[in-house]
């Protein structure tokens, strides 16, 4: 048993290297003073790719668009996903099965299909392509993630609390705001975080619905296709650093909570 455990440890380590090394290579190339992004041959240290990136106005526009879209997606997905979870939790039988299938279907639909169908439908209503359509297309599946998270959290909710509050004279709005929502906050928070990240890295839905606007993923994609320079690596390194920072911050906070609890 010992020996096979050692092999398992080794396999896990190799897998982690496999997952992380490509990101290191990509980030490292941001500092290489070579016109084509690579770490070999190493030409010399430079920070000029970061400076070029900083001066690229198209990147800044794309960055702003990405953040705006992500915020809008979260703002719309959270109420929709939460409402849908509360609704489906209160019904049973075949209606529930049908509704549930409809709600999770967008998660299992390829992004290209969501993007094209959103574009066609709103176009018939005379809404032209643009970032607003990207928001709607992304909401259709990100709301499903929120719904699933909130629904899971609802399973551990003691409904007696609501009845007690109602018996004691609380209004319906108070029951929702003071009893149910506080119980759901962890799930809603997780949903907001996942939704925000999903929106930022979304490409397939955005590609078909964006019209002529850029988001960061579309910007990177078009750069990679037409003349790559290591500015993309500089951007990648910054994004990875931000991700790492968020992940560590989350972990530190989780450990602090675990110690206290």
């Amino acid at each position: 048993m010992r020996k096979s455990n050692f092999l398992f440890h080794l396999y896990m380590v190799l897998f982690l290297i496999y997952m992380i090394l490509p990101l290191v290579v990509m980030g490292g190339a941001a500092f290489n003073d070579s016109r084509f992004p690579s770490i070999y041959p190493w030409v010399g240290w430079t920070d000029r790719w970061f400076i070029e990136l900083w001066k690229d106005t198209r990147m800044w526009v794309a960055f702003r668009n990405t953040i705006l879209v992500a915020l809008a997606v979260v703002a719309i997905s959270i109420p929709i996903g939460t409402a849908a979870a509360i609704l489906i939790n209160s019904i049973a039988g075949s209606t529930r099965t049908v509704l549930y299938s409809l709600m999770v279907a967008p998660i299992l639909t390829p992004g290209a299909v969501i993007g094209i169908s959103t574009l066609l439908f709103w176009n018939t209503l005379n809404v032209p392509a643009g970032l607003h359509l990207s928001v709607l297309g992304q909401v259709s599946f990100i709301a499903a993630f929120v719904m699933l998270l909130v629904l899971a959290r609802l399973q551990s909710f003691d409904r007696g609390l609501e009845e007690a509050a109602l018996d004691l004279g609380a209004s319906h709005a108070q029951v929702l705001r003071r009893i149910l929502l506080p119980h759901l906050y962890p799930a809603i928070g997780a949903g907001a975080a996942i939704g925000f990240f999903q929106s930022i890295e979304n490409f397939n839905v955005t590609l078909f619905t964006r019209g002529t606007y850029d988001t960061l993923t579309v910007y990177v994609f078009s750069k990679v296709r037409t003349g790559i320079t290591p500015t993309i690596n500089a951007l990648a390194l910054i994004l990875i650093a931000v991700t790492l920072f968020c992940a560590i911050a989350y972990e530190v906070r989780r450990r602090a909570v675990a110690r206290r609890g």
Partner: protein
């Protein structure tokens, strides 16, 4: 439903229903119906829309079935997406087992932290990383040359090789996490009981652990297959001249030909493919949709 009314009153219940209805009708059902409807209509200039030529026909689908190239690409997309799904399972299953049953509890949060970073880095950057690594004069070839393992640089991005490498790297975590969750819920006593009764390790896996992780495998397989078949970034960045992906043809119709009708017919074919895959997996693994989407 009356339960909702009792708890939250008429106004809030109405808001819940309206929000859900907006989502399901305006963002899910109607767009897909329009996709379906448009796929049967001809591509016409604006002034002829609604005119005598604007009639329903199967022409857009016939375009597909009359084009050996497009059907070929469709079939290869299915074959290579299945291959990617299989490779991801082979890589992920031992890891999922290790993480849930062997690894000491204290390292699990750190493991997750390390795995979340590549998961949250966007797909375009993950395929870009492999674009650099697999380049003819890239780090992989120079390392292998330096170690004396190969004598001449290998053209990695050839045929579907680059695409498969990129897709496996990008989506393997979508296989790992569901299987991990499934094995996690297996009582370790069952494994020990099997071992105490003299079951060799492979039979314990075959009879105890694998059956228990079925919902996780189903979920992972559906996600990896759907994401692979629907991927646009990886095939564009890592494809060679001989490997075309079905999404690239959809893109051609939508952007180069500006023919949204044929484009929607092709997109609908992709949707059917994924729906069929989900139903086959549900049938084979005998799981419900609620087991897959978690």
């Amino acid at each position: 439903m009356s339960d909702l009314l009792n708890r939250y009153g008429g106004l809030l219940t109405a808001i819940f229903i309206l929000l859900t209805a907006f989502w399901l009708l305006m963002l899910v059902i109607l767009p897909n119906i329009y996709l379906f409807e448009n796929s049967f209509r001809p591509y016409l200039p604006v002034n002829e829309m609604g005119g005598p030529k604007d009639v329903y026909s199967l022409n857009n689908y016939l375009t597909f079935f009359k084009s050996p190239i497009h059907m070929n690409v469709f079939v290869w997309t299915i074959i290579y997406s299945s291959l990617v799904t299989l490779i991801c399972f082979i890589i992920a299953y031992p890891l999922a087992y290790y993480m849930s049953k062997i690894a000491p509890d204290r390292i699990i949060p750190t493991l997750f932290l390390l795995l979340f970073v590549p998961l949250w880095v966007s797909e375009v950057l993950r395929s870009f990383a492999w674009f650099i690594i697999l380049a003819l004069k890239g780090p992989l070839n120079s390392t292998l040359l330096g170690l004396g393992i190969i004598e001449a640089p290998v053209r990695w991005i050839m045929g579907f090789r680059g695409v498969v490498i990129g897709l496996v790297y990008t989506y393997v975590l979508f296989m790992l996490f569901p299987i991990y969750n499934a094995i996690q819920s297996l009582d370790t006593n069952q494994i020990e009981a099997a071992e105490d009764l003299g079951s060799p390790w492979w039979r314990t896996h075959l009879r105890v652990i694998l059956p228990h992780s079925k919902p996780g495998i189903a979920s992972g397989a559906v996600m990896v297959f759907m994401l692979s078949a629907g991927s646009i970034l990886v095939p564009t960045l890592l494809a060679s001249t001989t490997s075309r992906w079905f999404t690239e043809i959809i893109q051609q119709w939508m952007f180069e030909s500006q023919d949204w009708n044929t484009g929607s017919a092709y997109a609908f074919l992709l949707l059917i493919l994924c729906t069929v895959f989900v139903s086959v997996v549900m049938r084979v693994f005998r799981v419900k949709l609620s087991d897959i989407a978690k």
